[in-house]
């Protein structure tokens, strides 16, 4: 696609541009008002987040896994998977600090199953990663199809009872 003849000069110039941009970027990191520093991100290995289907999730529920509902408080109150707790990750994902404060409530050291409504798995993923990053668990599972898939499989759902987790 790109001609190799006469490639050296633009490549050299491109390297200079990248070098200048990187230097400016690192400088801006030092001066950024929110104080973003070059701290290593918590290592979340690739197999730390596992997407599972409703059948596997049901097997985990039967074994006593902790289910975390990432939907909003009212949605959770309306219907939820029995025994689930609510850590709403919408409309904005929870900050690490808030998450850690709420995670103190769970004393069980288990591999949690995160679920949402099945439409925005990216938000479930953010929550699951945050759980791993916070050091609460080595691995977090995500119910890919959310509660919609769970209900479609005919698995039990608690309706309009129970209270969302404190703080909602």
């Amino acid at each position: 696609m790109i001609e190799l003849s006469g490639f050296k000069k633009p490549a050299r110039e491109a390297a200079v541009i990248i070098g200048i941009a990187c230097a400016l970027g690192l400088l801006s990191g030092l001066l950024h008002p929110r104080g973003y520093r070059l701290e290593p991100a918590a290592a979340v290995s690739r197999d730390a987040i596992v997407h599972i289907g409703a059948v596997q999730a049901k097997a985990k529920l039967d074994r006593g896994a902790l289910f975390i509902d990432a939907r909003t408080g009212p949605e959770f109150k309306e219907c939820a998977i029995p025994g689930a707790v609510n850590l709403p990750a919408r409309p904005e994902p929870l900050s690490r600090r808030t998450l850690q404060e709420r995670l103190v409530l769970f004393e069980r050291e288990v591999e949690p199953v995160v679920y949402g409504d099945g439409e925005r798995p990216d938000i479930d993923e953010i929550l699951a990663r945050a759980l791993v990053e916070a050091g609460h668990t080595r691995r977090a599972y995500i119910l890919s199809g959310g509660i919609a898939e769970w209900e479609a499989m005919g698995f039990p759902v608690r309706r309009d009872s129970g209270e969302p987790l404190e703080g909602q």
Partner: protein
């Protein structure tokens, strides 16, 4: 059919349409880079979600990718050092497409964090639509790299001045 072919040849050589694409692509990169630079921590989270870089390199990437986007996009839009800028933009798009394809293939669906459009309510989840858009942008940047003439650019203006002073 012939006129279509001629128009395409004209674009590849460099005409007003090429200049429009150059400026539009450049501005797109400037805006997208600026959006990321305003919130590097959020961008770092997105980079981390791609799962391609070790944790230690994620903040480094979050701090350096946006200015590279801004500088190369700015140079493209202004029409200065067009070939190297188009080369950088092409390389970034190619790497980005591969990253999206890799994550899409392993079943992950999350906001691609490409242009910051999700904040405005647009769906930017990784998938075929994002890949198709990037493929189009890659075709445009490749065309810009190969184009011989760049109207409405600093380079063409400097060349005119140089010829005038001969």
């Amino acid at each position: 059919m012939n006129s279509m072919m001629n128009m395409f040849k004209g674009m590849v050589y460099g005409n007003g349409v090429t200049a429009f694409f150059r400026i539009a692509l450049g501005l797109l990169f400037v805006v997208s880079g600026a959006e990321k630079m305003l919130d590097p921590a959020a961008f770092g989270k997105t980079v981390g979600m791609y799962g391609l870089l070790p944790g230690e390199l994620v903040p480094l990437a979050a701090l350096t990718i946006p200015p590279v986007e801004i500088l190369s996009g700015g140079l493209l839009a202004a029409g200065y050092r067009i070939r190297p800028a188009a080369l950088i933009v092409s390389a970034m798009l190619a790497v980005f497409m591969a990253a999206v394809a890799y994550n899409y293939a392993r079943g992950l669906r999350f906001d691609c964090g490409c242009l910051g459009l999700a904040r405005l309510g647009f769906d930017e989840q990784i998938g075929p639509a994002v890949m198709a858009r990037d493929l189009f942008l890659l075709a445009v940047s490749t065309m810009l790299y190969r184009a011989k003439k760049h109207t409405a650019s600093i380079e063409s203006f400097a060349e005119r001045v140089r010829l005038h002073n001969l």
